[in-house]
């Protein structure tokens, strides 16, 4: 507290200038990690991996070995293979949901903004209704009724994303490209987390398909004997979400000098 006597103004005046035009090593590390995840998920058919669904009851929770690089899970399935197949789910949901959202929300937002009048009232009103549900509650309710499948999950989350895309596009369309990419990347992070939460609760993609969320959920049961089963997918997910956030935030800072401090 005593440092209040120091002049605060100078610090503030300097910091945004330093902060803006710079892509630090962290940014490139994030890019590298995302490329790695994409490559692994894309090349999963080519990689010499054991099957992610074959169970081996004699090799349950086995430690890392030449055959199972990250060991096996509680049902004797290869952890690394499940991790990489899980990356596919996270990326599919994470990328497609905001795409659907930006498309629907963007179209509605532009129409509403252009035609105004009753159409605008209707669009804004119906978005207000969707926003009246806490997001996760709506996602849970709709998946519960529609049944669990990758397609359903993606569409529902996409509809959720639409509510926010509308606001963004209506405000920003005139000068959007970079803000839109930033919004999209931050959206990817959000949807990877929501997919993870649903799968963690056992309400995301149905088993035996592996997803990071369901792997963490299964690993939770054996935290005392094999904590790595929960922590490996957890760390992978954290790094991925952090990377998307970092890249998105850096791009946003580029385009939005006003909020350099935030």
């Amino acid at each position: 507290m005593a440092t209040l006597e120091l002049s605060i103004d100078e610090d503030v005046a300097v910091s945004p200038v330093k902060r803006t035009r710079r892509l630090g090593p962290l940014f490139w590390a994030a890019i590298a990690w995302i490329i790695l995840v994409f490559a692994a998920a894309g090349l999963v058919g080519v990689l010499p991996l054991p099957s992610p669904t074959d169970m081996d009851m004699l090799e349950r929770r086995a430690p890392a070995s030449a055959l199972h690089w990250l060991g096996t899970d509680g049902l004797g399935r290869d952890e690394l293979a499940r991790l990489i197949y899980g990356a596919r789910i996270s990326l599919i949901v994470g990328l497609c949901a905001p795409m659907i959202g930006v498309t629907i929300g963007g179209a509605l937002g532009m129409l509403a903004g252009y035609f105004r009048g009753r159409l605008e009232t209707l669009v804004v009103g119906s978005m207000d209704v969707l926003l009246a549900f806490p997001p996760l509650i709506l996602a849970l309710a709709v998946t519960a009724y529609l049944g669990q499948s990758l397609l359903n999950l993606t569409c529902i989350l996409g509809a959720l994303g639409a509510t926010h895309a509308r606001i963004l596009l209506r405000e920003l369309l005139p000068n959007v490209f970079l803000p839109l990419v930033a919004f999209f990347l931050l959206g990817v992070a959000v949807f990877i987390v929501v997919e993870g939460a649903l799968s963690f609760l056992g309400l995301g993609v149905p088993p035996p398909i592996s997803s990071w969320g369901s792997m963490i959920g299964e690993g939770r049961e054996s935290l005392d004997v094999a904590p790595s089963l929960a922590f490996i997918p957890a760390i992978t997910m954290f790094l991925t979400v952090l990377s998307f956030n970092l890249i998105g935030d850096t791009l946003r800072a580029f385009t939005d000098p006003r909020q350099g401090a935030l």
């Binding site: 806490p134 309710a141 992070a189 957890a234």
Partner: protein, 316 residues
């Protein structure tokens, strides 16, 4: 002020009606006939038909909606066909748990976020500030269920200081109640403080450059008084905004946290209803949670108007 409240209340009515309609439509239009769910796969078509008739499922959908809405307006949300409990009973029983959890979480979140924000704003640009801002950014990327298992692993499995799951009511055993709630509340708070800290920090940096702060310094006021009274006051609106925005995420987070820590709250009721396909409970809980969320947002709007007269008298 009264006119403002009345206008806002009037706007609530169509939103709530639309919310009830959407909740009902989701439950009714999508596959999975309620009668089959109740009777199971083995049921004969005659039995299913009879039950459909009893429950009014053979009526046109708008008629069913009006009937349901009529009951809801009289406080009758239906009864679980699995446990026989009414929705209202089930919800009122579990509401205190969820409220206690969310309020504790918000208090812990504010207790971490506000002092950190002030400390960072005062030394903005310093190593401490950069470190804390970075940590807050990192924490934003940690989903609730990750921090939950991390905390369980640390405090319940390794250190064995706190229980991982379970619950006792506050009236029976206040200390035990808090012991059960510490980890869940902390889990939620870990997701709350970065948002609070980041927004409040940039708000405070701007405030600290105002002339009246320089004036207060010149008058020789104590730094603590300047920071906590003069500088924090204009940020009260920001704090209300963040808290308002957080409510939705807090409710979602509570669903996950209650499930992980086995707390008998609304969230666990909802997830349980999904697992057992108890559609009546599900429909009732979703409607009540959405209505509660809308009303809480209304209260936040009102708080704005109280804190900032411009909103009351402006265009609304």
């Amino acid at each position: 002020m009264l006119g403002f409240v009345a206008r806002r209340l009037l706007y609530l009515v169509p939103v709530l009606v639309a919310v009830s309609l959407l909740t009902f439509l989701i439950a009714s239009l999508l596959p999975g006939d309620l009668a089959y769910v109740i009777l199971g796969d083995q049921a004969t078509p005659e039995k299913v038909e009879a039950l459909r008739h009893d429950m009014g499922l053979d009526q046109p959908i708008w008629w069913r909606y009006l009937g349901w809405l009529g009951h809801v307006l009289q406080g009758d949300f239906g009864r679980s066909f699995r446990t026989g409990q009414t929705v209202l009973q089930a919800v009122t029983e579990r509401l205190p748990v969820s409220f206690e959890l969310m309020i504790l979480a918000e208090i812990i979140g504010l207790a971490i976020g506000v002092p950190l924000a002030i400390a960072c704003a005062v030394r903005s640009g310093s190593a401490f500030d950069r470190f804390m801002t970075g940590s807050a950014f990192g924490m934003l990327s940690v989903p609730t269920f990750l921090s939950a298992i991390l905390l369980i692993y640390l405090f319940a499995v390794e250190l064995r200081w706190l229980p991982a799951t379970g619950y006792v009511p506050f009236q029976e055993d206040p200390v035990g109640n808090l012991r059960f709630l510490v980890l869940p509340a902390l889990t939620l708070a870990l997701a709350e403080w970065p948002g609070i800290m980041r927004v409040l920090r940039s708000d405070m940096i701007a405030t600290l450059q105002e002339d009246y702060i320089a004036m207060a310094k010149a008058k020789g006021l104590k730094p603590s008084r300047i920071l906590f009274v003069h500088a924090l006051k204009p940020s009260s609106l920001t704090l209300v905004t963040i808290t308002g925005i957080n409510i939705g995420r807090l409710i979602g987070g509570a669903v996950i946290v209650e499930t992980i820590f086995a707390l008998p709250g609304i969230g666990r009721l909802l997830v349980g209803a999904i697992y057992t396909r108890d559609l009546i409970i599900l429909q009732g809980v979703v409607l009540l949670v959405a209505a509660g969320f809308v009303i809480m947002n209304f209260i936040v709007d009102m708080l704005y108007a109280i804190l900032d007269p411009r909103i009351r008298y402006g265009h609304a």
